[in-house]
């Protein structure tokens, strides 16, 4: 499946999360040809990995897959998944992106996604798509609604036993694949590289990620997802159905010691959402949210928060000072009650850390676009068009330009698309002259 060395487009979108997909769709619908470059083996970003999404509580995969599917099948969109961006530069009128296609060790044109290889493979590995709570094999389809549905072999954990090759009905497995590099050119680019959660291991007061039954919020999304690791909410240390669950807000945001002094903007709402979903899944469980300020600012968000309070979810205005391992798998939370109670401690069966939102990609040294003191991509016109970067013809959208929920991400992505289109309207169209 040799790719041509250089391929031409109107716009290169870096990052195939909801931001990148929305920008790509909005441009493609106007007739522009778009390349979407995604580092993971599937498009969809964080959103496809969530359970249900606030404020409407739609199931995330139900509203992400339509966008993924329409991008994948759009005549003007080409997806490049499992690719690294080695460099993005402007050369005259064009943006050039050097891309490396990582080897899947499976021929994407032959693989039919039947998962026979996965069943045959004898090597069980933690499935990070399920928060590490379940296993995958050394060769596997990334997750059940991944696009594309092509198996990926983890060469670092492959015994080269040949079983997958033997069972593959289409001879798609190829142990000898090598990385391939190629170049994409375009008139514009959209950077939509999203976010990562700040790592628990950096937070000593909260146990550096070593206390059993202390998990991060994305892991909780998986526990709540309909096709999650246990198909229900259990605490990971021993499979007990938790009776008392706590959320520690701003665990890694608004916290200079973590280098994240800003507010991560989505954690209040996702914690409230998860708390609501939990009280649906475990009607008898006590759910507590330790918070500093509840920031429910979007459309319908405040009502969502008040509903959660009315449902009996407990909101404790407190700063959590320490988290320790308790008895029998429990977790002890020591907090300073801001409502006058002083220092208190409380035991919970499961504690969720609402970790902060960090940029998903550092442009330096790959792309000469500036980042701010918060390390997200700088906007040069934050009031009139937050998507404008200091690199000509390059725009930013979604969490790459600062933490953001899905609603705000989607409108920003439309805005990035229109700015890219404006830029291209201003220059002579080069579409016709291309193969």
């Amino acid at each position: 499946m040799a790719e041509p060395q250089v391929q031409h487009f109107d716009t290169i979108v870096i990052g195939g999360g909801i931001a990148g997909l929305q920008s790509a769709l909005d441009l493609a619908d106007q007739g522009y040809r778009v390349a979407v470059v995604e580092k993971d083996a599937s498009i969809g970003g964080k959103m496809i990995r969530l359970s249900k999404v606030f404020p409407t509580l739609d199931c995330a995969s139900c509203i992400t897959t339509p966008k993924m599917a329409s991008a994948a099948h759009h005549e003007n969109i080409t997806l490049f998944t499992y690719c690294n961006v080695d460099g993005i530069v402007r050369m005259g009128e064009e943006i050039h992106a050097r891309i490396t296609q990582n080897p899947r060790y499976v021929d994407p044109d032959k693989c039919i996604g039947c998962r026979k290889c996965e069943y045959a493979c004898p090597v069980y590995l933690p499935d990070m798509e399920q928060g590490g709570f379940s296993a995958k094999k050394a060769i596997s389809i990334p997750f059940s609604n991944a696009i594309p549905q092509v198996a990926v072999l983890d060469a670092e954990h492959c015994m080269l036993c040949g079983q997958c090759e033997t069972v593959c009905p289409t001879d798609a497995v190829d142990y000898f694949m090598e990385p391939e590099t190629f170049t994409l050119t375009a008139r514009t680019a959209v950077l939509s590289t999203g976010f990562e959660l700040s790592p628990v291991k950096d937070k000593a007061q909260y146990g550096n990620g070593e206390i059993p039954n202390v998990i991060d919020s994305l892991q909780m999304e998986r526990l709540l997802a309909p096709h999650g690791p246990y198909n229900r909410v259990l605490r990971p240390s021993d499979g007990m159905e938790p009776d008392s669950i706590a959320y520690v807000q701003c665990a890694g945001s608004r916290d200079k010691s973590m280098g994240v002094s800003y507010c991560s903007r989505v954690c209040c709402m996702y914690a409230i959402k998860q708390a609501m979903l939990l009280s649906g899944a475990l009607p008898l469980a006590d759910i507590t949210i330790y918070y500093m300020d509840i920031r429910a600012f979007g459309k319908g968000y405040e009502q969502f928060y008040q509903n959660a309070k009315a449902m009996g979810i407990e909101f404790v205005k407190a700063k959590v000072a320490r988290i320790n391992e308790g008895d029998g798998g429990s977790v002890t939370v020591r907090y300073e009650n801001q409502d006058g109670g002083g220092i208190q401690t409380m035991d919970h069966d499961l504690v969720v850390l609402s970790m902060g939102i960090l940029p998903g990609w550092r442009p330096e040294p790959y792309c000469p676009v500036s980042t701010d003191s918060d390390r997200f991509i700088t906007s040069i016109k934050p009031k009139i068009s937050p998507v404008l970067t200091d690199m000509e013809g390059v725009f930013a959208a979604g969490a790459a330009a600062g933490p953001k929920d899905i609603v705000d991400t989607i409108s920003e992505s439309g805005s990035a698309a229109v700015e890219a289109a404006k830029y291209m309207q201003a220059s002579e169209p080069i579409l016709e002259t291309q193969p």
């Binding site: 404020p55 059940s144 319908g300 006058g340 009031k383 009139i384 989607i410 409108s411 229109v418």
Partner: protein, 604 residues
């Protein structure tokens, strides 16, 4: 405008070979519905040639099953049983189309929202089987249809020239589409015309307006209509006709504008406290945040202390969430029976921004900030909060049910006192003497009942316009061809308003770019041979101008026949129900198809 469906509808001799595809929805369906049983039941139906299941029908392998069966000729009609059609009907129609078939030989059965999410066990499985049988029976009788294609004006109208409307206009015009920008006041700029510098970075509000001002005035493609409101709307997507009423020196003048799309950017206004709310209206030294901002713009800044209404302000109290975040049972409803339950989103930052400005310019003025939650969520906003703490703004936290009390004071020479039970100091009662109390009033949508009524646009209880879906279609309104931008949707700051403006412009450009628009073919269709011109359908029709009686010549005689304007028809079927001759049908929902469905349900 053409309706290419006229001919094909007559061909009803065809018997479809139906393929049924049942989705597990990753457990959303299969945890409650025995999908294998549903498949087995479907296989037993005479019209069904294949029945299959998949974990996610919307995934590529799922869609590929459909494509393969169609390409192999095994089936020529498709039923997918999965989630609500609003989510994936278009996904599956386009899969059918990719297989080279007509996308409308497709029928959707909703076995998630209508089954697995509301029923459990055998009843769920039985109901799913019944819905699938009905869908298959209908599918067997489906005929290929073609979208209704209408020509579209490459022209859009933006209503409201605040920052959102201005940006929308500029962004659309730059895509080569003409724009009418309608503003009811004399000036573009909206709310920003009344603001000083903007949170969080301190840009001058005037500069932000100016960024677009010149272009909207000078662009060949943009026509600005100041002092103007929309008086009448006719037509449909691609082909609206608006009557604009402009107030001028010589009275009112009307202009007609032909336009393809409409963007609502009518913005918001500040909440006005009721008389006596925190002593507002009773005491001159109780003012609102917009009034403070106005004062700051006028203050010279030479003094050590801020002066308001000629008084030096030594102590100033700012109270958050006035007219926002109200809770049923705790707060009183307004006169219009509404409560403003929402958060106004921009006030926290605007308060802190003004507070910092005051502390940094007038160190002689102390600030006490009484809040419920500080919501500095956005980029650069938390810094405002931190800076306010460094500027020694004193924060006090109150609960919704224990708001601060503002009273005239006789202590010392302070005219006011504010008493609050402060959550940050063990709920101690504290009384702050003050020269000035500033109420951080929230925002309310501009009253747009006129235009919203004309266009039949949905609004929430709070009066803000409601989008189709906050994530899937956040800037679209349910009336096709009508979009929204900015704070007419919900409170947002100007960056966010500009983002929605860009998103709306992207949608308008994609819609009007081609010069024509394709609409769903599910519209009424008259069988001219059967129609006797009773006019019953015209009377029953719910949409102005969608159905009319026209005179035609038949065998030398002038007779009346019903005629459908496909672009206006909503496909509701009211006409079908009243026609004494059964001469009118809705494409894709014919009586024959209904009968087949009913028979299938009765047989199940």
């Amino acid at each position: 405008m053409t309706n290419p469906n006229d001919k094909e509808n007559k061909d009803d001799t065809h018997n479809g070979k139906v393929g049924v595809y049942i989705c597990h929805c990753g457990g959303n369906i299969s945890d409650h519905v025995d999908v294998d049983k549903v498949r087995d039941a479907a296989e037993d139906l005479s019209c069904v040639k294949v029945a299959r299941t998949n974990m996610f029908m919307c995934s590529d392998p799922g869609q590929n099953m459909i494509i393969e069966d169609l390409e192999n000729g095994e089936v020529d009609r498709v039923v997918v049983a999965s989630c609500a059609p609003s989510l994936h009907e278009t996904t599956f129609r386009s899969a059918v189309e990719r297989a080279g078939a007509n996308p409308f030989v497709y029928e959707h059965a909703n076995i998630r929202e209508q089954v697995s999410w509301v029923h459990h066990g055998d009843p769920a499985t039985d109901k799913a089987s019944t819905l699938v049988a009905a869908a298959a029976a209908k599918a067997e009788n489906l005929e290929p249809l073609h979208p209704v294609r209408v020509d579209a004006f490459r022209h859009a109208t933006v209503i409201g020239a605040g920052i959102a409307g201005m940006k929308t206009a500029v962004d659309i015009a730059r895509q080569g589409i003409d724009v009418a920008l309608v503003e009811k006041t004399t000036q573009p700029g909206g709310r920003l015309n009344t603001l000083h510098t903007l949170a969080p970075d301190g840009e001058k509000a005037g500069d932000v307006v100016d960024a677009f001002y010149e272009e909207i005035q000078n662009s060949e493609r943009i026509t600005v209509y100041p002092n103007t409101q929309v008086n009448d709307v006719k037509g449909y997507v691609g082909n609206f006709t608006l009557t604009l009423a402009t107030d001028g020196e010589n009275g009112r003048a009307d202009t007609t504008v032909d336009t393809g799309a409409i963007v609502m950017a009518t913005g918001s206004q500040s909440y006005t406290p009721f008389n006596g709310e925190y002593a507002y209206g009773e005491h001159p030294q109780v003012i609102t945040l917009p009034e403070l901002i106005q004062t700051l713009a006028e203050n010279s800044g030479d003094e050590n202390t801020l002066t308001v209404n000629g008084k030096k302000i030594r102590n100033m109290v700012m109270i958050h969430c006035v007219g926002s975040r109200r809770i049923p049972g705790i707060h009183e409803t307004k006169e219009d029976a509404n409560l403003n339950e929402y958060c106004s989103r921009t006030c926290c930052s605007a308060v802190l921004h003004a507070g910092n400005f005051i502390r940094e310019t007038f160190p002689g003025t102390s600030i006490f900030d009484m809040y419920r939650d500080i919501r500095t969520y956005g980029r650069g906003q938390e810094e405002l909060y931190n800076r306010a703490a460094e500027n020694r703004v004193v924060f006090m936290r109150f609960e919704a049910d224990a708001p601060p009390r503002v009273e005239s004071s006789d202590t010392g020479n302070f005219p006011l006192s504010v008493t609050v039970s402060d959550g940050l100091t063990f709920n101690e009662e504290m009384t702050v003497p003050a020269d000035l109390v500033v109420l951080a009033t929230g925002v309310e949508p501009t009253d747009i009942s006129g235009i919203a009524g004309m266009l039949k646009l949905p609004r929430g209880n709070d009066g803000f316009l409601n989008e189709v879906h906050p994530k899937l279609r956040p800037v679209e309104l349910p009336v096709t061809g009508v979009f929204l931008a900015g704070t007419c949707q919900a409170p947002m700051d100007s960056s966010e308003a500009c983002n929605t403006a860009g998103a709306a412009a992207a949608k308008v450009s994609a819609l009007l770019g081609k010069g024509y628009i394709e609409l769903d073919p599910f519209v009424a269709h008259v069988d001219e041979e059967k129609c006797t011109g009773t006019g019953a359908c015209v009377d029953a029709c719910l949409v102005d101008d969608a159905l009319e009686l026209v005179e035609t010549e038949v065998a030398g005689q002038t007779v009346k026949k019903a005629r459908v304007t496909a672009a206006l028809c909503q496909g509701c079927g009211a006409c079908v129900a009243v026609c004494p001759e059964n001469a009118i049908e809705v494409n894709g929902w014919t009586l024959k198809q209904y009968e087949a469905m009913v028979d299938a349900i009765a047989a199940a």
